[in-house]
């Protein structure tokens, strides 16, 4: 896997990490909201129950004092019974004020509380109406009055207060349950999103890796194909510039080379041609002739490759472009050596063949305004002149 792929995958997992962090933060926020809401509902319900229960406790106190009245008593542990009753109702009024101030009660709770409140008011009113008759009437009458007119009111008020408490508590429980449900659902959704996101990231990561590997593989294939193409191209180029038989650069390569040096500086160049080479082909066959040429070329490679660039112009004609480090005088001597070396016997399939060589040598100066064709033609002309003069000689072009 290359560095780019690694970077891509790292980025993906970084994103995943950020998403998970965001999920945790969101989770904390939701938790806090749920807790605060539940706590608020719980606290309000607790306060509500306390106030309502306190009202009910006061009703019980009032009932106890009323029973004392019915029993003919005037005071309760030293305090006037009616004062006790009045104080208890005053306390109920305060609790009612506090309960109303809480707010947040449901419509059902308020409906039931309204009846409880009216029942308590009716109870207070009836006690006030009957208090004097309770104290003045006989025990039996007082008891009857209590049972018939006061007890039902007190029982109704208590029943409605208890119902109000139940409604409020049930509503609070339902609210908390709802919050928990919403919390659970939101948690599940968040976790599902996180899991889906993780799965998606894993899948994406795997695909990215696979794609990256594929790209890499194809890149390698392309590179290899390109190299092959280059090699093939080079081969084709080389084939175009090479003499297939001798493996030497051919006339096109020579022309290309001369194109680059004519006019730029002086150089020594010689051409050599095997005298009566056609006779070897005609006498011994083209195969022997090719073998003869290959041997001559090989000899030239072995002996003069370090001293000159070797070209096989065509057939038995060769060209040497001497290295610029060799002096003019040395070149003349060297060129003669080349001619003689080329003319030395060659063993071709057990037959020793030999043919002299003619050639021309020219020290080309940079200020000579000549083309490649001009140079080659002049060299050829000089070489052909050497052949006409009997061959086996080297002419120097001045």
């Amino acid at each position: 896997m290359n560095q780019n792929s690694r970077n891509r995958i790292s980025r993906a997992y970084t994103i995943a990490g950020v998403v998970l962090m965001a999920f945790c933060v969101l989770n904390l926020v939701i938790e806090n909201i749920v807790y605060v809401n539940s706590r608020r509902v719980y606290d309000r319900n607790i306060a509500s129950v306390q106030y309502l229960s306190s009202m009910n406790d006061k009703l019980s106190d009032i009932n106890e004092n009323v029973l004392l009245l019915v029993a003919g008593m005037k005071d309760n542990n030293g305090t006037d019974i009616m004062t006790n009753i009045d104080n208890a109702f005053a306390a109920i009024t305060q609790y009612e004020t506090s309960y109303n101030a809480l707010g947040g009660q449901s419509a059902l709770e308020l409906r039931r509380y309204k009846q409880a409140s009216l029942s308590m008011a009716a109870y207070q009113k009836k006690i006030t109406e009957l208090s004097s008759s309770l104290t003045s009437a006989g025990s039996e009458t007082a008891q009857a009055v209590y049972m018939q007119e006061l007890s039902p009111l007190q029982a109704c008020a208590t029943e409605m207060l208890m119902a109000t408490i139940e409604i409020g508590t049930n509503a609070a429980d339902a609210n908390v349950h709802r919050s928990s449900m919403m919390h659970g659902i939101s948690q599940a959704v968040l976790i599902a999103l996180a899991v889906i996101g993780l799965i998606a990231l894993v899948i994406a990561g795997r695909r990215a890796v696979a794609a990256s590997d594929e790209i890499e593989r194809r890149g390698a294939e392309l590179e290899e194909a390109s190299e092959q193409l280059d090699r093939s191209r080079q081969k084709m180029v080389d084939a175009a510039l090479m003499n297939i038989l001798t493996g030497m650069y051919n006339r096109y390569a020579l022309e290309e080379r001369l194109e680059g040096i004519i006019g730029t500086g002086q150089f020594n160049i010689a051409v050599f041609d095997i005298d009566r080479f056609r006779g070897i082909n005609d006498g011994y066959g083209y195969e022997t002739g090719d073998e003869y040429l290959s041997a001559v070329a090989e000899r030239l490679e072995e002996q003069y490759a370090e001293s000159a660039e070797l070209y096989n112009i065509c057939g038995g004609e060769f060209c040497l472009l001497f290295d610029e480090s060799i002096s003019d005088l040395q070149v003349q001597s060297l060129a003669e050596q080349v001619r003689q070396s080329m003319g030395a016997p060659v063993n071709c399939g057990g037959i020793t063949l030999q043919s002299s060589v003619s050639g021309s040598l020219w020290h080309v100066l940079p200020n000579e305004n000549m083309t490649v064709g001009d140079v080659l033609m002049k060299l050829d002309n000089a070489m052909h002149a050497a052949k006409r003069d009997g061959g086996n000689r080297l002419y120097y072009i001045k």
Partner: protein, 325 residues
């Protein structure tokens, strides 16, 4: 493989959370059957009391009633149908004290608690009776009447039916209280008018005509009260005759304001329906309840007619729609 190993536990956790998030399984609804005496609008208040209790406690209230109070067989069949339908409890306003005993026995045999409201049955297996203590209401009416008479005078009674339990108790409570506490007050005659308005009107006129010293009339039910009001109004005797009635009715406030009707004993039918369903739920939950619950009777006259608690008592369903079939 490492990645698969990490994903699988997370998916399992997710599945567990989703399962948990489904929340508690919803409790099955509790069916409380409320069977009243008739479809007279009077019972709308009881019906709403029952509906409100059902709404507050998450109960399914099934309300039924025969078309009229004369259809006892229909009411018996309704109880039988409730038992067959698998009612969790039955709240019944019985049309008869004894005739429903057999079907109620069928209900309790299947562990269906039965409560009565408004009036009672003789079947001892019923769990509770939530109603006005009619004898107590009669006594309260007597004390109010005595107060209006100044503890002395002649009283006539317009009663509904001699064999109706409510009539017996309301009259009995009234006369017993008078006898025990007000020796100078005499009940000269009781006229039974079948709970019919016209008959009650005629009966009132007859009472007044036949008893010239009559100063107060006590009517034991709503039709009797309405008939008596009409009679006294027609005769123009609002100042001469004091009328203490039973069961508030539409138009009673006008009669109170004009002085025709001096006061009326008012029951709490809303609480009968409300407490009936509430106590039924307690019984279904295995709790014990009071065997007899007095929903009380309140004397309403011009002095307290405008009080908030009285206004609520007279019309607790003022903001609720009427039930239609």
């Amino acid at each position: 493989m490492k990645r698969n190993g990490r994903i699988l536990p997370v998916c399992l956790l997710l599945a567990a959370m989703l399962t948990g998030c489904a929340g508690q399984q919803k409790n099955a609804a509790t069916d409380i059957y409320v069977i009243c005496k008739s479809q007279d609008p009077y019972w709308d208040t009881t019906h709403w009391g029952a509906v409100d209790a059902g709404e507050e406690m998450g109960l399914h209230v099934v309300y039924e009633a025969p078309a009229t109070e004369q259809e006892l067989d229909a009411q018996i069949q309704m109880v039988r149908d409730a038992v067959a339908a698998g009612a969790d409890a039955i709240v019944l306003a019985p049309l008869d004290t004894d005739a429903l005993n057999d079907v109620l026995r069928e209900a309790t045999a299947q562990n269906i608690p039965v409560l009565t409201i408004d009036s009672d049955v003789s079947y001892a297996g019923r769990s509770a009776c939530i109603s006005t203590q009619n004898r107590a209401a009669g006594a309260i009416a007597a004390r109010q009447a005595a107060s209006l008479l100044g503890n002395a005078g002649e009283v006539g009674v317009i009663c509904h039916k001699a064999d109706a339990q409510t009539a017996i108790e309301r009259l009995g409570g009234f006369t017993d209280e008078m006898t025990a506490g007000y020796p100078d007050i005499r009940v000269s005659e009781v006229k039974y008018c079948d709970g019919d308005v016209e008959k009650s009107k005629e009966g009132t006129k007859q009472l007044i005509e036949e008893h010239p010293d009559l100063r107060l009339i006590y009517a034991t039910n709503q039709p009797g009260t309405v008939g008596a009001c009409q009679a006294i109004d027609e005769l123009g005797l609002a100042d001469a005759i004091t009328l203490v009635g039973f069961d508030y009715f539409d138009g009673a406030d006008s009669f109170i304001t004009s002085g025709v009707l001096d006061g009326v004993m008012t029951q709490n039918p809303y609480n009968m329906g409300y407490l009936g369903v509430r106590y039924a739920k307690k019984l279904v939950d295995g709790m014990t309840v009071s065997v007899n619950v007095d929903t009380g009777a309140t004397y309403v006259d011009a002095s307290n007619l405008g009080d908030a608690d009285i206004q609520w008592l007279l019309d607790p369903i003022v903001d609720k729609p009427a039930f239609t079939d």
